[in-house]
Subunit: 337 residues, 4 copies
């Protein structure tokens, strides 16, 4: 019974059907196909504003390409210390940009807050001797399963823009956040001041379907050359684009995220006081001690350790296709601890 990660999940029927539909006949390569060509309009409808959209095959590529496009090699990017770009991408932003600096900041629930960012910027006045403050990146939902409310994003973005910084969002789990907030996709992105978004579908039912979405279309700049140069221009782009179209044009994104979130909430409820963070998306973080973890594993539950070695912490991630019986079994086992 797998609670390792939502990247363990299968591809959902709508997106698999979209791949089949895109396979009906030959078509032009490198994005000159009707699926890729339709992305701007479909995402424009989804977000309620004009956007420029580029499909890529991984979230790391989306983040690193987005940042490298808007940040020079000597730029500083402010990010939470738990952010995927900081912890889980083997230095991809540094690589893609030619050496940008990620400045790690603290914050509850893996969320940045405007006050911390402001203090940091005040303490690092740029000169020719320093890296140059250029962007902020936040993750929605965060690496600790928390969700930024629109106002928190807007406060960060206001500060960032006032200081001349661009604002990027890592939306690997944006669908989970949207379902929790019940707000429009616009409310947590461009309306709140997000300039560029890494939009993820892979964790929520896709095969390999991520997108970079530019709300500030002037920031597209040389993105297409950087993508090609990084080996991320897919020759058969239509298969990624077809997934993305199906994802935002049907309710696949919300239904899948809704299922995952509900399962996580159910698990969170079963954790009681051991819960480390409120469950706001599809991830659950607990401190139950090493013996309890061993006991759960003995019962067939699979999940990752969390925190430092021997911290007794664990992470459970629920996926769109999580078997309800597995979820219930885990809840009973947690309650029995």
């Amino acid at each position: 019974m797998r609670f390792y990660s939502d990247n363990n999940a299968t591809v959902c029927p709508e997106l698999l059907a979209a791949i089949h539909e895109a396979n009906s006949a030959p078509t032009r390569g490198y994005g000159d196909d009707r699926w890729t060509q339709a992305l701007d309009e479909a995402f424009g409808r989804f977000f309620g504003t004009a956007v420029t959209v580029f499909p890529v095959s991984t979230g790391t590529a989306a983040n690193a390409l987005a940042l490298a496009t808007i940040v020079p090699p000597y730029g500083a990017v402010y990010a939470h210390d738990e952010a995927h770009v900081v912890r889980d991408e083997c230095g991809a932003p540094e690589f893609f940009s030619g050496g940008l600096r990620l400045v790690s900041l603290p914050g509850k629930g893996a969320m940045l807050d405007a006050a911390t960012l402001e203090r940091t910027l005040d303490a690092m006045p740029p000169s020719v001797h320093t890296v140059q403050p250029t962007a902020v990146t936040i993750t929605q939902a965060t690496e600790l399963g928390r969700v930024y409310p629109p106002a928190a994003i807007a406060a960060l973005a206001r500060l960032a823009h006032a200081r001349g910084l661009h604002v990027h969002m890592d939306g690997a789990r944006i669908a989970n956040a949207l379902v929790t907030l019940g707000c429009s996709p616009a409310a947590i992105t461009w309306e709140a001041g997000i300039d560029v978004l890494s939009f993820g579908a892979t964790k929520n039912g896709g095969l390999a379907a991520e997108a970079v979405v530019f709300f500030r279309r002037d920031l597209v700049r040389d993105f297409e050359l950087r993508r090609k140069r990084a080996g991320h221009l897919l020759s058969k782009s239509r298969y990624a684009s077809a997934q993305l179209l199906a994802y935002v044009s049907t309710d696949a994104w919300s239904r899948n995220a809704g299922r995952a979130n509900a399962a996580a909430r159910r698990i969170g409820d079963a954790c009681g006081e051991s819960l480390l963070e409120p469950v706001e998306a599809n991830e659950v973080f607990v401190r139950i001690g090493e013996p309890a973890k061993a006991a759960l594993r003995a019962q067939g539950f699979e999940f990752y350790d969390w925190g430092a070695a021997q911290s007794g912490e664990a992470r459970f991630v629920a996926s769109w296709d999580q078997d309800p019986r597995a979820t219930e079994a885990l809840c009973r086992a947690l309650e029995a601890l």
Copy 2:
């Protein structure tokens, strides 16, 4: 009627079935799945020797990662002037390696030859002031649809190895070459001295299925970190790996390539004296004049211009799923010119 490129083709039934099969249940991410874990063995059987194999999603990524792993930032890589790494990757090898130098060489049919390579190496004795000769890369089949016989590869590799250079093969169309030669996969790779291979399946029936194959397994070095850092470690690796397994474990590779080659040969036969290169794989290069090209296009044939502007040259590429009626129609139209 499309003769643009084999990347316009659809996904073949065997590989689509493999995707479905990999979708039957959740599994571990990032390559810790049974499909990815089986790649070394399956490719080992295919090539008749122990190999280490990594799936990636594009040929550009395969080439650039392979070269960056075996070449330092100040390394020189010798390649044909028409090679994909030189002409069609927007500088990906330079980017992935941190600035390697591609030294472009001439050669008939987009093939390197040992004599040219030797003269070039002799004329550029390395010192601390120069880029350092490190690798040779050849393309099989070449960008002009030609096929290196095993002995030509072996001659190049012998020279390269004697000079301390590694040998890489861009095998985006290796299946087409193998079908033409009728030899074993070993004969044109490790037996001939290839150290690392970019193995392509996308153009020949895959969705997005390329692999880097290390015959010199000690050269794997930090490949996995470089791949992750470049955003090319797929979280749901199983879907690429399942395609690759199906491709090399069934006769999909040879049947698909055989069909494409046969169509190209048929087209080549129809070209008569206008043929620029012998047709040895699935590409046909002709000089028929701009009026003839316009006439063909008016009849619904789609293909790329070749050579300089107004050269009257054209390229026709046949795919595994080329409609035989389209091929016949093109042949008749060419014969009628």
Copy 3:
């Protein structure tokens, strides 16, 4: 009366004489001269062990080349948050290495301590998803004018080596530290576990004379190619090398540093309770309030603000050629505050 920085100082007589001596006749370029050839032996005597030494023209180049040689593009380097590599090099280590990550750590007096480093390493177990812990860099004397005792360096180096990390020292002001400690150059470098040293002479009487000193000579690797490629192989190397030879072969280094340290100590004594850090080298950090700073400036004293805007903090740096009358005038003015 200048207390801005020791880089405001002039060139001392011994080093200027060395430049003249090196100018007596033509000689080979790019280091094939007798001054450069003598560096290994002279520095070997200075440090009491066999070393390999390379002259460069700036401290930033020394640090960045040293780190890029021993750290891969995806490596993590642990440094104090106040370190020159972190604050004052515009991202040079990231640039030279192709994207390494500087992990900033806290520590009193801008000194790293082994306990903090250990906690940090424990909290970041490396995997293919993370940057790879590779090196620690410390600054002697530190950016806050403090000096690591040999035992503190040894404790850090022991931990680092036990974890497989290399240890680099930024010795832009190593002479000032040596004079304070009264120990041998060996005691705070290779005997304490330093693998590679950026050795600075520019701030202490040189024109442009820095060196990278490898105690672990196997770590030299491709340093020479990286230096050339970075434009730091001087065609007329002899002028830098002659300065370095004079610096370590005479008592210029100790006499110059002794003068600067004495002046700083005198200033520190005049600061009383406003002192922020013990004065252990040639820098003095105080919190005296903005009005007092304005008053000092009105009297003709030149110095940099320190800390956040309006913090009332200031930095005074004493140089080898500091006019004793200026020092005395500053002391009296400080005492009068």
Copy 4:
């Protein structure tokens, strides 16, 4: 008797005096000194137009920083196959820019010509798949001791600008070219269409004194950050700047170059039919056979081999401080061959 290279030469009296003059008192670091601040005006007078000038310590740094500032990582730069940037900088332009492509072109006397450039550009129409044509770089005097007349430069620059390319000149030996042409510095630089110049003084009497001169001042862009980040912002910039000021404000540049050129011309005259290139600057290229080379060396003449191994070719370089007796001795020995 040294004819290896002009980088073997000593520092001339005027520039050594300038170093002394700059050493009279402490001053601000990092270019905030009166010598560095005076560069724009002094070079403006020298070139007869407003310029922005930055001192650096090597010609490789000047070239690589200039190109990296005006060329993106995926840019193509057209250069002669014998150019210093291609042959002698260990890939510095690729490193500084993050991977630009140097496209090597042929041309007599190591000179590019407009027709070859035009053919090359026509044959490489840019798309998202290719590196992007961005700049041309030429060397004055060339690596084969030839000098571009103003009209040849203007023809190249006109073509380059018409195609949207910037034009850079490597002026490591620009003084030698100016003396030969007898024209104004303007005539072979901005008046002919040069946008950015690497201005060399080191080979012609400097200690380490090179400059990047922007005629297109809008192209300065982020040059200062790139220079700092590359370790090429000298903390004691005044010593380089003082040399540059003396060089362009006195007749040191022309007198030194005149001497070197005259010596080379004298040597060239002695070579007769063995001369490979007309002697237009301070370098002489001959084919005299290996036995003759051995004989010359036996008589104490030092010089580099040229061309392929056993080609019988040699290079003699004359310096500003070449001993006339050595020159005469060489001439007699050559005539005696």
